[in-house]
């Protein structure tokens, strides 16, 4: 077995963004289910929020490789 502790740390660090992304899309699905015509309003908000949350996971990935 090879590997480094960095990757274990990255796995742990990815939990946060994973939960955040799940919650963002859960809220988006809820909103669209309750009011389907709000879809086009909610979609950009959901994806912007998703992009911000995933940014943290991506920084973690970069640091796992760089450090």
């Amino acid at each position: 077995m090879e590997g480094s502790l960095n990757l274990v740390g990255y796995g742990l660090a990815a939990i946060g963004p994973a939960i955040a992304t799940g919650m963002i899309f859960a809220a988006y699905i809820n909103g669209v289910a309750r009011q389907p015509e709000a879809r086009s309003v909610l979609q950009p908000i959901a994806f912007l929020g998703f992009a911000v949350a995933e940014a943290l996971a991506l920084f973690g990935l970069v640091l796992a490789f760089v450090l």
Binding site: Q43, F47, L48, E54, L61
Partner: protein
């Protein structure tokens, strides 16, 4: 090379980042590597497809025209029109090119014989994100003037003054560092991880097949999972092309919005 290593009875060497460093085809010409040739191939494929699809345009579309038009209308209506608003038509060519280019290059990851997603080499997403970065800042500065554009970014209206201490650095970092960086890294990381995942299951299955008799019976399961993951990758590839284009459209929309 890998196969011969395995057949000599060494331990399983898991695929790593080194598997993405493909040697040049001809001598040591650094520009004739597989990813670069795949990019040229993708440009040829996309051009040929859409020229063929639009050449004999008719009211009753042929099958090819229908396929081409449905991709175009998806980008034009569902992405650009809904997100950017009344000025959307200027940006449709860029968004459409971006989407088809990323999509075809991602598909190369699962096309038999090619099987290498171009975007798993980080330099290609960097360039695409840099173009998007310049496009959305350029249209924002053109629309609002440089001073007003930067002021809107740094000092978001309708916020208590004390909050600017925190908010201004975050907003500046978001617009000038985080956005282009995450845009490129998201695409790269997804393609990289997806390709690595497929390598793990197919090379692992191969290694099991070379192993002891008991292990041979397990290897079909590894190949089965690999094939299932190939379909999963197909979904991810479409999704990543879509997200890259969607975020580009969102950033452009934010830059040319009348009020932030």
């Amino acid at each position: 090379m890998r196969v011969t290593q395995l057949s000599q009875g060494e331990g399983f060497k898991p695929p790593s980042a080194a598997d993405f460093d493909l040697p040049p085809f001809f001598g040591d010409n650094a520009f004739a590597t597989k990813p670069i040739l795949l990019v040229f191939l993708s440009v040829i494929l996309i051009s040929v497809f859409f020229i063929m699809a639009s050449r004999k345009a008719a009211v009753v579309p042929s099958r090819m025209q229908f396929a081409g038009e449905s991709v175009y209308s998806f980008i034009r209506n569902d992405l650009a029109k809904d997100l950017i608003g009344h000025e959307f038509l200027r940006f449709v060519p860029y968004l459409f090119t971006l989407f088809t280019f990323i999509l075809v290059n991602n598909f190369f990851g699962i096309v038999p014989l090619l099987q290498f997603p171009t975007m798993s080499r980080v330099s290609f997403p960097y360039v695409l994100a840099a173009i998007t970065f310049f496009v959305f800042h350029y249209v924002g500065i053109r629309k609002q003037g440089p001073v007003k554009y930067i002021r809107e970014i740094m000092f978001m209206p309708g916020v208590p003054k004390a909050v600017y201490v925190l908010l201004t650095p975050i907003e500046l970092a978001t617009f000038f560092v985080v956005r282009p960086l995450t845009l490129s890294l998201r695409l790269f990381a997804n393609m990289f991880a997806g390709h690595l995942l497929l390598l793990v299951f197919f090379l692992g299955g191969e290694h099991l097949l070379m192993g002891a008799l008991g292990l041979k019976f397990v290897s079909p399961f590894a190949f089965g999972v690999g094939i299932a993951l190939t379909f999963f990758e197909f979904m991810i590839q479409i999704l990543q092309a879509y997200i890259f284009t969607l975020l580009t459209a969102l950033y452009i929309a934010g830059a040319i919005a009348d009020e932030h």
